[in-house]
Structure formats: structure tokens, C-alpha cells
């Protein structure tokens, strides 16, 4: 009986090895197959004792070969390990790592989103004679191996919303959060709350969540991974992967494939290698703090030793995160640092005091700020850099004096005077009104004058805006006109079928009409300099960090040449332009993502520039505007160096907003994926230009991953508006006016510059 079970076990192991190596012929696999065949053939004839001996030999051989094969794993093999149905999943971890747990808000498919699993769990710890239960909130994706309703760990937007909700609960209860990343990527639907927008919200909240966060990565696919992984400690399983895109997706983009055609296995293998997705790569780049070694060929639910290691690692990581910020730790801090092998020996209470929480958030933010420095090139000279940092200090000091030290007192005084004035007004009115009434009846002349004055005041109070005062430029007054307007030809509006627009003469369209169809209002795509000059007054603006340059940090094949090409064609060093400008008298810092540079994709240089712009706006106490001429998402050729910009930039924005800044986002043409799902989508004020598209994944990707076609206008600005993802749609010709209006009305009292 026992022998049968052992044979079955060996057969399973062989099948697993075959799956992992994806049909590659290897001498070890051949040998194992042959040996197993031999034992099976002899099986019936041999007596029990000999059989058992043979089985032990075979098992030893398997263990040896597995260790051997483990050293030959390619990145794509690791991807196959992670996706294998026998891979450990979150349910296994909950069963084996924690001492007790209760799943919250879900039971099989009766669940808001079965692919997101939430549980309250505890570790039972022994401290001296006492047993202490240490509570944690466990949040993670559940792949559910074969349970179709779990969607393979692809979390729908409402699943991420659920995760956020329970993060807030954990914050209220002051218990640490353990998140587990088991996802190939988020599920791309735009229905409320929207895939991109919800991930952005999660990142924004996690950026300042006041409890320790520990994230464990097994399968980390871009946006889906980021939704739960902005953590104080990031542990990665040694056979996992963490990547900007699946190797298949990268191969499809590299090969320029469309529709039904598939990339070759070699190309996929190559992309997996180039993207640097393994645990060691990520450790080397500094995107995870520690790698937890798994058993050979990956952890499976029967590897109980591994669960013990994971338990130790989780306790250790949480202890570390807590001990860094705890006021009273004495010898324990030292013990924590040196107790990697024996984490359970050190006991630390995981609830934090208010000041410790502040330190925790600050440390987390600084940790992410320091990442990916190596992945871009700062060509600014040493002297200039020193001058810039000195200037920064001066601005910060100046702002502190003006707005914090004196400004706060002044504000308080103003508020007091305002209140006093209002009180006095009431008293005066009560006293003088009867007298005035008598006077009015005696002296009718004064009455007429009073009436006139009253009308004026009323007029001032009730008139909100004056659209007739140069609201919209007309004729040839544009400061910058597209060079396309030089061509003598006509174009047809794409909406001609529904709106019957007449054909447009190109010089009119791009010259006078600013690329807007006068008949239906369709916006033809416009070059970004149009906005720079006509909206942001670029000629008088002061650009900064011009010399920050995109590079090829992973040595991705042919990417250097492509970058050089983009640099030569656009004259830019990265897809991001940052400058200071004045919009109708309001000084502001602007960051522009321009589509002509590699599709406006965001890499390390763009992220760094964006963060510096946000910091500058904070230091100078100015509003911060992000104008997105277009973005295709995260630059895949930079791998995780690109993805990490999602949390980094979101943290920068969060810091800026928390310090009282006003952050506005304006989308133009097409904006998709990572940036929308992080630092753009988290803005409380997002606007779009007519005819722009905003979303998480393009229609092609949605069709590919979910198998359902979406309507052609699924991502249009008006749909985004009706889903509540953006907060207004603007005409291109009125962007300057509307921006000014927004700065005045949304700035209000929490804006520094007021």
C-alpha cells in the first residue's frame, strides 16, 4: 500500500519536472524516466523488502536530480514554475504558516472578488511562560488552481477596492499587514471603480498607511502586483518572478504581433531573460529586500519546511519594520538585526504609537525614493547640481518662513479679523437699519444713489465669470501653430458618418481651429508644443532637470539604438519635460509626458523627473500640473526599473498633496496603463481633452486577456467621465482658461500660494 503511494508520488514529481522544463529534452529527465520505467516493470515480481529499498534509491536519485536541475533553471522555467497548478497558493500559506485564521468577506465564489483573499490571522508566540497571539491582516491574490471563478489571480477592480478597505481596517486596529502577490496582472475592466483608478487609489493610500506592511512576491505582474505591494519590507520567493509584463506580452510587442499570431517560444524565452524578472535580479536592483530560498524546483504544498522558513521570515520582516521605528527596543533591536535564523526568539509588540507610525511612513517613503537611481543618467554637472540643491534649500527656508512661520499666524489673524468684522456688521445693521429706513423715507435722493450702489454690489456677487473677456482665442492668435498647417490639402473628420462634417482644409484646421473640427468638435491629435506654447507659455518658462536622460539599464537588446533614435527625432532626453511657468498670473510647476518619445512611456528617468518636479512644487509652494500628451504605460524595456516608478511617483505626489499642494492632471490623446494606474490616477482633479482615451489596457489587450471584445469607444474621455474616473472634459482651445479657473477654484484654502 505504502509502496503504491510512493510510486504515485514519484510519478507526480516526474510529471512536474516535465511540465517545468516545457518539453525540453534533458539527460536528467531521460534518466529519471528510464529508471522509473525499470522499477515499474520489475514491480510485481520483486518481494516487498527489495521493492522498498529500490524505491528509496529512486527517491534519492530524484532528489539529487531535482537539485541538479534547479541550477539549470532559465527565467522562463521559473515563470512556468510559478504558473504551475502545484505551486503553493495563499490558501496553503494561510493553513501552514499562520497558527489560526478566519477568511473575511468571502467564501468560494460567494465573494466580491474571489481572486482577492482577505483573512485575519495570528501567530501564537511564546514569551517566557505566556502565549501571545500576534494579529495580522493577510491580503493577497488567490490563484485557486483550476477554480475558474478565481480568475487565476487576476483581480478585478472591486477586488482591489476590497483589499484597500481591509488595509484601512488594519490601520484602525493598528495591526500589521502581510500581503501576498500571486497575480499575473490585474483584470482589465473599466467598470466602476476602474482597474487603473483603483490601483492608483490603493497605491495612494498605501503610501501613507500607518501600519507595518510586509509584501511577499511569488508572481508579480505589473499593475496587479503594485496594487498590494507598496510595503516596508518586500520579500521575494526564490523561484518567483516580478516583472513589468508577462514574457509572452513582451514578445508580442517585440515581434510586432497582432491578432491571432503567436510569438515563438524562443522569442518568449529571450524576452524573459532580458526583462530580468527573477528574484536575484530584483534583489540586485534593490527592488526586494530579501530572497527566501525555496526547495529545488519551487515550493509545493507538501514542502512543510518551506512554510516554516516563510513563517520565520514573515516574523523577522515584521519585527524589523517595527523595531526600526519603535521608541523602546533596547537590546531587542540588536537581537532582531542578528537573529535572521531565529526570529521567533525575539518578541516585539507590533502595534505602534502615533509618533512611531509617523516615522514608519516617513521611512517607507524614503525607502522608495532611493530606488532606481542607477537606472537613469543625470548629465547635470557637479557645480550646477550643487547650485540647484542650495537653491532648493533657500526656497524651502523661504517657504517655511513665508507660509508656515509667518503665514500661519497671518492666516489666524485674518480669520479672526474676518469673524470680528462679520459680527460688527450684524450689530451695526441691527442698530442702524431703523434709522436708515426713516432717513430713506425723508430723503429720497440718497435712496436712488444707494440703490445704484446696491446693484453694483449685487452684480459683482452674482457674476461668476466673464466669458466675453477673451475666453477663447480666435483667428491666427495662437502662439504656436502646427507645421502640419503648411500643407495644402483637406482631411475628413472621423465622425463624418454620424455628424456629416464637411471636409476640412488643413491650414484652417491646424492653423485657426487648433485641430478641432468646427462642425462636431472632434479633436484631431495635436503636437505637444502646441500646449507648451499656447497653454503653458513655454517661451518664458524655466525648464529644469533637462539633462536627466533615459538609458538602457538592463542592456535590453537594440533598445539603445531605439532610444538614440527617439532622442534624435524629438530633441529630448526623456519623455518627460518639467518646467516652471505662470498661467494668467498663477505660478505653477508643470510636468509634461510627451507621446513622440517612445509613446510617452515612463521609465526611470521620467519617474525621477516627475518626482523632482513634485518636490520642487512642494518646496516653492506652487500648484503642480501634470499634462499627459500621451502615454502608452510603463517602458517594458526597463523591466522592474519602470514598474517601480508607479509607487515612487505616487509617494511623491502623496507627500506633495499631504503638505497642502494642489495637483491637477490633464490627459490628451491616449493615456493607458501604469501611469494612469498610479501617479496620474490618484489625483483628486483629473481632466481630459475632448477625443482623448483613458484606460488601463487597450482594447487589443482586453480582447487578448479576457476574451471579450469591447466597444470601440470603450475608453473615450466621455465614458471615463461617466464612470467617474475623470472630472471634466475640456475643449483644447479653452485649456488655458479652464486651467486658470481650476487653479482658482480648486486651490482654495489648502493651497500654499494663497
Amino acid at each position: 500500500m505504502d509502496i503504491d503511494r510512493r510510486i504515485q508520488d514519484i510519478k507526480d514529481r516526474l510529471a512536474y519536472i516535465r511540465d517545468i522544463f516545457g518539453g525540453k529534452e534533458d539527460e536528467h529527465i531521460r534518466l529519471l524516466t528510464a529508471k522509473l520505467g525499470e522499477v515499474l516493470a520489475r514491480d510485481a515480481a520483486t518481494p516487498g523488502g527489495v521493492q522498498a529499498e529500490e524505491m528509496s534509491r529512486l527517491e534519492d536519485l530524484f532528489a539529487f536530480s531535482e537539485r541538479k536541475l534547479d541550477t539549470q533553471l532559465t527565467p522562463m522555467d521559473r515563470v512556468r514554475i510559478v504558473r504551475h497548478p502545484q505551486r503553493i497558493c495563499l490558501k496553503d500559506i494561510l493553513e501552514n504558516v499562520y497558527d489560526n485564521y478566519t477568511e473575511i468577506g468571502g467564501r468560494g465564489e460567494f465573494n466580491i472578488d474571489p481572486s482577492m483573499l482577505i483573512a485575519r490571522a495570528y501567530f501564537a508566540r511564546r514569551v517566557g511562560e505566556r502565549i501571545v497571539n500576534q494579529m495580522v491582516m493577510v491580503i493577497g491574490q488567490e490563484k485557486g488552481h483550476g477554480e475558474a471563478f478565481r480568475n487565476g489571480g487576476s483581480v478585478k477592480p472591486w477586488g482591489n477596492a476590497k483589499a484597500l478597505h481591509y488595509m484601512k481596517v488594519a490601520e484602525t486596529e493598528n495591526i500589521p499587514i502581510h500581503t501576498f502577490v500571486f497575480t499575473p496582472g490585474a483584470y482589465p475592466v473599466e467598470d466602476w471603480p476602474g482597474a487603473a483608478q483603483q490601483i492608483a487609489r490603493n497605491l495612494y493610500e498605501m503610501a501613507a498607511l500607518r501600519v507595518p506592511l510586509v509584501a511577499v512576491f511569488s508572481e508579480g505582474g505589473s499593475g496587479g502586483a503594485e496594487a498590494v505591494s507598496l510595503a516596508d519590507r518586500r520579500i521575494m520567493l526564490s523561484h518567483g518572478y516580478y516583472s513589468v509584463i508577462s514574457p509572452e506580452g513582451a514578445a508580442a510587442i517585440e515581434g510586432g504581433l497582432r491578432g491571432a499570431s503567436r510569438a515563438t517560444p524562443e522569442l518568449i524565452e529571450k524576452c524573459a531573460r532580458q526583462l530580468r524578472i527573477t528574484a536575484l535580479d530584483n534583489l540586485e536592483n534593490g527592488y526586494v529586500d530579501r530572497v527566501l530560498q525555496e526547495p529545488p524546483l519551487g515550493a509545493r504544498p507538501t514542502h512543510f519546511d518551506f512554510f516554516r522558513d516563510l513563517r520565520r521570515e514573515l516574523i523577522q520582516a515584521t519585527n524589523e519594520a517595527v523595531s526600526e521605528v519603535k521608541p523602546m527596543k533596547l537590546f531587542r533591536a540588536m537581537a532582531v538585526r542578528s537573529s535572521v535564523g531565529d526570529a521567533e526568539a525575539v518578541f516585539m509588540r507590533w502595534s505602534l504609537s502615533g509618533s512611531a507610525q509617523n516615522r514608519l511612513v516617513d521611512l517607507r517613503q524614503r525607502k522608495f525614493r532611493a530606488m532606481s537611481r542607477h537606472a537613469c543618467l543625470d548629465g547635470t554637472g557637479l557645480i550646477k547640481r550643487m547650485a540647484a540643491s542650495a537653491r532648493g534649500t533657500v526656497w524651502a527656508a523661504n517657504s517655511f518662513l513665508r507660509y508656515d512661520l509667518l503665514g500661519r499666524q497671518k492666516k489666524r489673524l485674518d480669520a479672526m479679523l474676518e469673524d470680528l468684522g462679520a459680527e460688527a456688521h450684524i450689530v451695526r445693521r441691527k442698530l442702524l437699519m431703523p434709522l436708515k429706513r426713516v432717513m430713506d423715507s425723508i430723503l429720497p435722493v440718497a435712496n436712488v444713489e444707494q440703490q445704484k450702489k446696491g446693484d453694483e454690489v449685487r452684480d459683482r456677487l452674482t457674476r461668476l465669470s466673464c466669458p466675453e473677456d477673451g475666453a477663447c482665442l480666435v483667428g491666427s492668435e495662437w502662439a504656436w501653430i502646427s507645421p502640419r498647417s503648411q500643407e495644402d490639402r483637406t482631411v475628413s473628420c472621423p465622425q463624418v458618418r454620424t455628424h456629416h462634417c464637411p471636409d476640412l482644409w488643413v491650414p484652417d484646421l491646424y492653423g485657426d481651429f487648433a485641430g478641432v473640427c468646427p462642425s462636431c468638435g472632434h479633436h484631431f491629435p495635436m503636437e505637444y508644443p502646441w500646449y507648451l506654447h499656447n497653454v503653458f507659455d513655454y517661451d518664458r518658462a524655466r525648464e529644469f532637470n533637462q539633462r536627466l536622460e533615459s538609458i538602457n539599464p538592463l542592456g535590453y537588446e537594440q533598445f539603445e539604438a531605439k532610444l538614440d533614435q527617439a532622442k534624435a527625432r524629438t530633441g529630448l532626453k526623456s519623455a518627460c519635460i518639467t518646467f516652471e511657468t505662470v498661467i494668467n498670473g498663477v505660478a505653477a510647476v508643470v510636468a509634461v509626458l510627451c507621446a513622440p518619445f517612445r509613446g510617452g512611456s515612463v521609465g526611470a528617468a521620467e519617474g525621477e523627473k516627475f518626482i523632482r518636479a513634485a518636490e520642487r512644487a512642494g518646496r516653492k509652494r506652487q500648484p503642480f500640473i501634470a499634462y499627459v500628451h500621451g502615454t502608452a504605460g510603463i517602458r517594458i524595456q526597463e523591466g522592474v526599473n519602470g514598474v517601480i516608478q508607479m509607487p515612487r511617483c505616487t509617494i511623491a505626489v502623496r507627500r506633495y498633496i499631504d503638505r497642502g499642494g494642489l495637483y491637477l492632471v490633464l490627459y490628451d490623446t491616449n493615456s493607458y496603463a501604469g501611469p494612469v494606474a498610479s501617479f496620474l490616477g490618484c489625483s483628486p482633479y483629473q481632466f481630459a481633452v475632448h477625443s482623448s482615451n483613458i484606460g488601463f489596457a487597450g482594447p487589443g489587450v482586453i480582447a487578448e486577456t479576457t476574451g471579450m471584445a469591447v466597444s470601440p469607444d470603450y475608453h473615450s474621455a466621455y465614458h471615463a467621465l461617466s464612470r467617474g474616473h475623470i472630472h471634466g472634459v475640456w475643449d483644447r482651445r479653452e485649456v488655458r482658461k479652464n486651467l486658470h479657473q481650476a487653479l482658482l477654484t480648486m486651490g482654495g484654502r489648502n493651497l500654499y500660494y494663497r
Partner: protein, 215 residues
């Protein structure tokens, strides 16, 4: 009374519709290399977002615009003598023979043969409970309608008003709206068939169903 047989005969005599593609505006024509007898298809895709077969390009003011086939069919005639020439708006360029599908023929016959009771305004329509019950239990053909009979409920913005049938007496043959759908003004709600013609129409539809080849 309508002669259904005659109608069907005329359809059978020419089982297609001739679609003439005229030049929508002036311009220089450049045909896409189709010849007589080629098959073309119309717009397709779940949202009809993909255009039909390219027929020709028309260039005006350096603005090259494609002309696509509006429906599935066979190219009847191509004015290839116009290739590369300037044409006026309205000039016929290509004709397409669109073979009527089974559904289209049935629709054609029914629209001619039935009396269509149309929606007086844009709203949701429901049958009155008695009729609804009857329709559900015994099927469409079981309900007889006559002038002035209270037949439907018009539901719009929390207001529900009864609607009486007006038209010739007959049997409900087809229902053109679904429960809870908004029906535009002037769209047909039901098709009513005089009782004596019911068997004839049923016969014709069955015959078309079995005989008509074009899907």
C-alpha cells in the same frame, strides 16, 4: 387584401437587391482591383467597427478617402473606364448585388402582409396583465386584438398609461420589442395578421424557411 403569393413571386424573380455605390463627392477615382463576380462583405465585428471590403479610393484636395462595401454581396459592375479620372458627385462607380437572406425575405413579406402597430412615443411598453398572461401561456398567436381594445401599458418616467389598440382586427403574429426595452417613437410594436390570412402567412414563412438558401 394583399396577394402574398404574388409578392413572393416578385421576390423570387429577383432575389437580390441592387446597391449602387455612387461617388459621395467629386474626386479622382482609383478602384481597388475588384472585378465583376467578386464577393464582398459589409461592416463586421461585434460593434460593426471593422469596415467592409475596400471598393475604391476617391481623392479630392489630396484627401484620399476609401469607399467600402456597405453590405455583403457580389460585385455586379465596376466602371473601370473611370479609373484615374475625375468624377462628379453622384456618379455610379460600382454596383453590388446583395442577395436577400432568409430573414430579410421573411421580414419583407411580413412587413407587407401584417398590419404594424407602432409606438406613439419613446417609452417602455408592456402588455396588460391579461394579454401578457395569455401570451406567456398559449403563445403569440393566441391573442386576438380589435379596435379600441386596451392592449398595452406605456411606461415612462414613473408614469404608466394604458394604450388602446387601433387598427384592423386580427391576431398578434409577431412582437417586435422585448420586456423593459425602450422603444423609439414610430417603431413597430406588434404585427397583426387578419385571422383568415394566418394560415397563408404561416405557410409562406415555412416555405421560405425551408427553401431559401441565402443565409
Amino acid at each position: 387584401m394583399l396577394n402574398i403569393k404574388e409578392l413572393l413571386d416578385t421576390v423570387k424573380a429577383s432575389p437580390y437587391r441592387e446597391i449602387v455605390i455612387n461617388a459621395p463627392h467629386t474626386g479622382v477615382v482609383e478602384f481597388a482591383g475588384l472585378k465583376k463576380g467578386d464577393r464582398v462583405h459589409g461592416r463586421f465585428g461585434e460593434y460593426k467597427e471593422k469596415p467592409g471590403t475596400l471598393l475604391a479610393h476617391l481623392t479630392r484636395e489630396k484627401n484620399k478617402k476609401p469607399l467600402h462595401a456597405p453590405e455583403k454581396g457580389e460585385v455586379g459592375m465596376v466602371r473601370s473606364e473611370l479609373e484615374g479620372q475625375f468624377v462628379e458627385a453622384g456618379e455610379p462607380l460600382v454596383t453590388i448585388r446583395h442577395f436577400l437572406t432568409r430573414q430579410e425575405v421573411i421580414e419583407l413579406v411580413l412587413q407587407k402582409a401584417l398590419y404594424l402597430f407602432r409606438a406613439p412615443e419613446r417609452a417602455k411598453y408592456y402588455f396588460v396583465p391579461e394579454v401578457d398572461q395569455k401570451l406567456k401561456v398559449s403563445g403569440k398567436r393566441s391573442v386576438k386584438v380589435r379596435e379600441g381594445m386596451e392592449l398595452m401599458i406605456v411606461s415612462r418616467m414613473k408614469r404608466e398609461t394604458p394604450l388602446s389598440y387601433s387598427g384592423p382586427e386580427g391576431i398578434i403574429y409577431s412582437v417586435y420589442f422585448g420586456r423593459g426595452d425602450n422603444v423609439d417613437e414610430g417603431e413597430p410594436l406588434i404585427g397583426v395578421c387578419p385571422e383568415d390570412q394566418l394560415s397563408v402567412i404561416q405557410d409562406v414563412v415555412a416555405r421560405i424557411q425551408s427553401e431559401w438558401e441565402e443565409e
